[in-house]
């Protein structure tokens, strides 16, 4: 009896269940305590999920009608949960909100949360891919600035490789990561899927150009045909000069600061991703905060989302995690404004584009990875790969076409 009383919340207290993943889940409790202090009557129960199990756990929770009130959701998962109709539409709440102003958010990131014209979540932190490079190695090859266009990049890589010798490379593009290629493809005008995401569009001129550029890097010996499993420690290898360029995300700012020796700290920098002609787009990634439709405490849940979206709270969150905030005003002052490594991200975030917003996208991205791997190993030509990708994407999207056709018939 005593236990039961101790565990149950007082009648006037609302309990918001909040699921967060990985590192964010570990540190968000600290931020949440302040929220509870400023919002008496609301208690937040944070549950931390490992990233590897999060997707399965969320789908299981949905099937068992035990979804949380608020959840951190990877941007690429939003279309899937929107298809499940599991998320609360947030347009009206944002319109009435004093803290969340859509215009303050980087547009590409905001866009990832809009599925079928409905706002499904609010961006929490952003993630994109750009260039990490070794200034000293690029300078030794005769260049004093990072490349801005594909042609620049190509020239720089050839020169870096020449200066590096046979056992070292100009760039590392791990073959198990489709993101760099997807980023290059998003720089093209042609969409990756066509007709409302019903068919693959990989035989378009744009995708072929991106794939050709990517594959040529390997064919010219500028990148080693390796996966992450073959590189036991990417930070060490970067420090040793095994490669001079690396396309990666914001989490590596912290990792490189921590893991590279002190005398190497001056020799690396970040730069926006080069595009076909001048700085190009990159992928809009990261995580959003969503409210589940089945939640019984939506007002309290939304109060938590609003609190976590305040620029000052986002700055604090950045200090705790290194995650980059999605609001321009959070970048204007504080530690982020002075961080030289983050500067390129600030610039890049103005030019990010969402990957196609269909639930099947992650599977298609995996097909891109496996087919590209075969092109790099010389089993397929670029044109064959494009045709193969269209065939695979069309097969994956069959159910979606059936669903859309049925909706139209109604």
């Amino acid at each position: 009896m005593g236990v039961a009383v101790a565990c149950s919340a007082p009648a006037d207290e609302t309990v918001v269940r909040f699921w967060a993943m990985g590192r964010e889940g570990e540190v968000v409790t600290e931020v949440v305590r302040d929220f509870e202090r400023s919002h008496p009557g609301i208690r937040v129960e944070v549950q931390q999920l490992p990233w590897t199990a999060a997707h399965e756990k969320l789908l299981t929770a949905f099937a068992g009608a035990s979804t949380p009130d608020v959840c951190q959701l990877g941007n690429t998962w939003i279309p899937e949960f929107a298809a499940l109709d599991a998320l609360e539409p947030l347009d009206a709440r944002v319109a009435a909100s004093a803290t969340i102003r859509p215009g303050d958010y980087f547009p590409g990131i905001w866009d990832t949360n809009v599925v079928g014209g409905v706002l499904q979540g609010v961006p929490w932190y952003v993630d994109t891919r750009l260039l990490f490079y070794r200034r000293d190695l690029v300078a030794r090859a005769g260049f004093d600035a990072p490349p801005r266009s594909w042609a620049d990049w190509q020239r720089t890589m050839v020169a870096v490789k020449e200066a590096a010798g046979p056992d070292r490379y100009a760039i590392l593009l791990p073959l198990n990561e489709p993101e760099p290629l997807v980023a290059l493809a998003l720089q093209q005008p042609a969409p990756l899927l066509r007709d409302d995401g019903q068919w693959g569009n990989f035989r378009s001129e744009g995708f072929s150009r991106a794939l050709q550029f990517y594959v040529d890097i390997f064919r010219q010996g500028l990148a080693p045909p390796l996966t992450n499993a073959d590189i036991s420690n990417v930070w060490n290898e970067f420090g040793r000069g095994y490669f001079a360029f690396y396309v990666s995300g914001p989490w590596n700012i912290g990792e490189f600061k921590r893991r590279l020796p002190a005398d190497r700290q001056q020799s690396w920098m970040t730069a926006p991703l080069p595009g076909p002609d001048g700085p190009g787009a990159s992928i809009a990634g990261g995580s959003s905060l969503v409210v589940f439709r089945a939640s019984r405490h939506k007002a309290a849940a939304w109060a938590l989302v609003e609190y976590l979206s305040q620029p000052a709270v986002q700055q604090r969150f950045h200090a705790l995690t290194g995650d980059l905030p999605p609001r321009r005003s959070a970048w204007a002052e504080g530690s982020l404004a002075d961080d030289v490594y983050a500067r390129a991200f600030r610039d890049q975030l103005e030019r990010v584009k969402p990957a196609p917003k269909v639930p099947e996208w992650e599977r298609i991205a995996t097909e891109i990875r496996t087919v590209t791997e075969r092109v790099v190993h010389g089993d397929l030509t670029v044109d064959e790969a494009a045709a193969e990708l269209d065939a695979r994407a069309d097969r994956v999207l069959e159910k979606r076409r059936w669903m859309l056709a049925r909706e139209r018939a109604r």
Binding site: A63, A83, D230, P359, T370
Partner: protein
């Protein structure tokens, strides 16, 4: 009649448990394999389509399924003989009258079986590393150029086999060692008096006496090795070029990564049918040779 009724009451709890936790899920999975259950169906059962045997037909025309099947066969065809040979050799060494520190070696050789796969996989990834790995370092002394163990599609499966054999041979070794210890010494003495050499004694005494156990061990190992999953999952994620995707790994991706549970159930039934056919055959032959 009444006694039979009572008997049914006694077995009823066990039958209910088996029915609810074994028979029912199997039939549910069979039913699911005839549908296209996916996340759309999870959202609303109205999105579920009955597709008959189309999952099976589509799988049989999917190149990756056949590749996974071929990879698994490769793993079983090479891995099972190597694994049993390693177990038998280790068991013979441990059984030898010349061996010292038997307890220590028995424990040491059995240790990989009880270690955590994920933890030792990290160590093996270092051993296999192309540039810093101990394996290539040792091969270098023999004048063999470094092998890209986990990055080269031709070498990834041998690397996985090596790892799996190391991880598993200790288990069969213990079973075979028990078998060796139960062979009466009289047979060896008789063979010795007849002038049989060591090799002859092995072929004509040890192997025949051990054959029921060897068949059992082979069937268990074949069934176990067909379920290859964890090794490629932690070592290569199915790569490079999907050369280490096994049938079970393929099923895992279909079911739990892409949530195509209908198609994943079909994979499970195909694998079940195949393993059943393959293991029932030697068992039946063994039963004919040694009628109980």
């Amino acid at each position: 009649m009444r006694r039979r009724g009572a008997a049914w009451w006694f077995v009823a709890p066990a039958l209910v448990v088996i029915g609810v936790f074994f028979v029912l899920p199997v039939f549910a999975a069979l039913a699911m394999s005839l549908t296209d259950f996916d996340i759309y169906a999870l959202a609303d059962l109205a999105n579920l389509r009955f597709v008959g045997v189309r999952n099976y037909v589509r799988l049989l025309s999917t190149p990756l399924f056949w590749q996974a099947f071929g990879n698994t066969l490769y793993f079983v065809a090479v891995g099972v003989p190597v694994s049993i040979a390693a177990s038998l050799c280790a068991a013979l060494l441990l059984h030898s009258k010349l061996a010292r520190f038997k307890g220590f070696f028995r424990t040491a050789l059995f240790a990989p079986v009880v270690t955590t796969l994920v933890a030792v996989a990290v160590i093996w990834r270092y051993l296999f590393n192309t540039r810093y790995g101990m394996l290539n370092y040792a091969l270098g002394h023999l004048g063999i150029a470094p092998i890209d163990w986990l990055g080269d599609p031709h070498w990834a499966m041998p690397a996985i086999i090596l790892f799996a054999v190391w991880k598993n041979f200790g288990y069969n070794m213990v079973i075979l060692l028990a078998g060796l210890q139960s062979i009466p010494d009289e047979y060896y003495e008789a063979a010795h008096i007849d002038g049989a050499s060591y090799a002859q004694r092995f072929v004509h005494v040890t192997l025949p006496m051990l054959s029921p156990l060897l068949i059992l061990v082979s069937v268990l190992t074949v069934a176990g090795y067909f379920q290859l999953f964890a090794e490629p999952y932690v070592m290569t994620q199915g790569g490079p070029l999907q050369s280490t995707v096994s049938v079970l790994y393929f099923m895992y991706e279909e079911g739990f990564k892409w949530w195509n549970l209908g198609s994943a159930s079909a994979v499970a039934f195909l694998l079940f049918a195949f393993v059943y056919a393959l293991t029932a055959l030697p068992l039946r032959r063994a039963r004919r040779a040694h009628p109980a």
